[in-house]
């Protein structure tokens, strides 16, 4: 392509690139801050969340099956 076009392409790439970098990292700042505040707020209950392996396990097995069946249902209904 002619040089003019090439340069404008370059400028294009720069605007697009720096724009994306800033938008993306800004998003990351927001998400991270929210995440951290949530963890710090509810982090205290963590011990409570921990269950006896047994109970925990049963729960998870249930969850596992439940989540996946739900997922499948949701998916099939979409089709």
């Amino acid at each position: 392509m002619n040089s003019g076009a090439l340069i404008s392409e370059g400028v294009n790439l720069m605007l697009l690139g720096m724009g994306t970098v800033f938008v993306f990292l800004t998003l990351l700042v927001i998400v991270t801050s929210i995440m951290s505040s949530l963890v710090q707020k509810y982090g205290a209950v963590q011990p409570a969340v921990l269950k006896t392996p047994g109970a925990a396990g049963q729960l998870d097995e249930a969850t596992l099956l439940a989540v996946i069946s739900a997922a499948i249902h949701a998916h099939r209904s979409k089709q």
Binding site: L16, E61, I72
Partner: protein
């Protein structure tokens, strides 16, 4: 402008479909179970990550490479494409891992009490009843499994990851993802699945049976055993030779004591590297079309069935053997015959201690435990020979 559009078209949001979103959530669930619940994290963490990566629209992790006429790479393939094709489709990774498992296995307890091999044999009953179950499910039109599919699903009952993955690559590649997830999830759930069955099938007296201290086993026996096993495989079941051959090789490296540096690498660097890539590669089979269908539910249900029946038949076999032998076996160790090394053996020990706080069954349970590994590899050989 054009370029912004381009970027937006490339963006996940634009391309994302419900199925992929769901699979990303499934991947996150597996990672959650691996980290928080310690569900076989060595496998489920990489598998979950692979599931997430492969379902990122436009990331091209499964892209196939394009070659020009001269055979040079024009556009390179995706990471997971290479991992899957080179390591899993070829069967290399499961075999290398099986070698490492062999190098980590101690056949001492089995050699001290060879009869426990029968327990490892009985526990494979879960595999084959599950095959029938899968066939019936497609017979009543609920699902659609071929005989090969059914066999691959049954092997979940082997409670042995590499074996299940190896058989799936041979008999039912499309089900690989679901089968591997089921196999490892249920191996992690052994402490929940087995005890009720064990208790239901045994009396308190039986659970209290004391077993005599195991005799010490000489290093020479430990060296000759893998070689004997290998020769038997060579003579009678060559289709099981890839799995059991590598298993014996790994074990021989360990027991021979003359190649410590190789044995050490097989147990660490090599098995770890292979596990990372195996997990990612297995996860790459968790695409929405392959996983989000009713067959997956069937696999999950059949898988737990297989575990349960395997556990039961192991326990019942032990009770049967007690009928015909003076040397009593605590039937709880029969449950360890499903393998799921070493979790199932620990479970047998735990349930035994509940019945008698002085009765330590762990070492006794290790025999059927490793026997179960051999048993399911043999079952795998039969299936491959019958259907391959």
């Amino acid at each position: 402008m054009r370029s912004l559009l381009q970027l937006f078209r490339d963006s996940g949001l634009y391309q994302l479909q419900a199925g992929q979103l769901v699979m990303v959530l499934v991947g996150l669930l597996l990672i959650f179970l691996a980290i928080r619940k310690k569900f076989e994290p060595l496998l489920l963490l990489p598998i979950g990550m692979g599931a997430i990566l492969v379902n990122i629209p436009g990331a091209g992790f499964l892209a196939e490479p394009v070659y020009d006429a001269a055979g040079h790479i024009e556009s390179p393939g995706g990471l997971l494409f290479y991992i899957y094709e080179a390591g899993i489709a070829t069967g290399m990774f499961p075999l290398v891992i099986f070698m490492g498992v062999g190098a980590l296995t101690d056949f001492g307890p089995l050699l001290a009490n060879p009869r426990t091999l029968f327990l490892g044999a009985a526990a494979q009953f879960g595999i084959f009843t599950t095959v029938i179950g899968a066939i019936l499910l497609s017979d009543i039109g609920l699902m659609d499994f071929s005989l090969a599919d059914a066999a691959a699903i049954g092997i979940i009952g082997g409670a042995d990851g590499p074996t299940a993955i190896f058989v799936s690559t041979r008999l039912a590649p499309d089900l690989l993802g679901a089968i591997a997830v089921a196999a490892y999830s249920y191996m992690a759930l052994v402490p929940l699945i087995q005890p009720p069955i064990m208790k239901a099938l045994t009396t308190l007296e039986e659970r209290r049976i004391r077993m005599d201290q195991l005799r010490p086993v000489s290093q020479r026996e430990k060296i000759i055993f893998p070689l004997s096993l290998l020769v038997l495989v060579a003579l009678f079941l060559p289709t099981a030779a890839p799995l059991l051959g590598m298993f014996c090789f790994g074990n021989l490296m360990k027991e021979s004591g003359v190649v410590e540096r190789l044995s050490d690498t097989a147990q660490n660097a090599l098995i770890n590297i292979t596990t990372i890539f195996l997990g990612l590669g297995v996860g790459s089979k968790l695409s929405s079309d392959a996983f989000l269908n009713v067959e997956t539910l069937g696999i999950l249900v059949l898988g737990i069935l297989a575990f349960g029946i395997g556990t039961a038949s192991g326990v019942l076999m032990a009770k049967l053997m007690n009928r015909f032998s003076s040397m009593q076996i605590n039937p709880l160790i029969g449950a360890a015959g499903v393998s799921a090394v070493p979790m199932a053996a620990r479970v047998a020990n735990k349930v035994g201690l509940e019945a008698n706080s002085q009765n330590f069954l762990l070492m006794h349970a290790m025999g059927p435990n490793v026997a179960g590994v051999i048993g399911s590899a043999v079952a795998a050989g039969v299936m491959i020979s019958y259907l391959g």
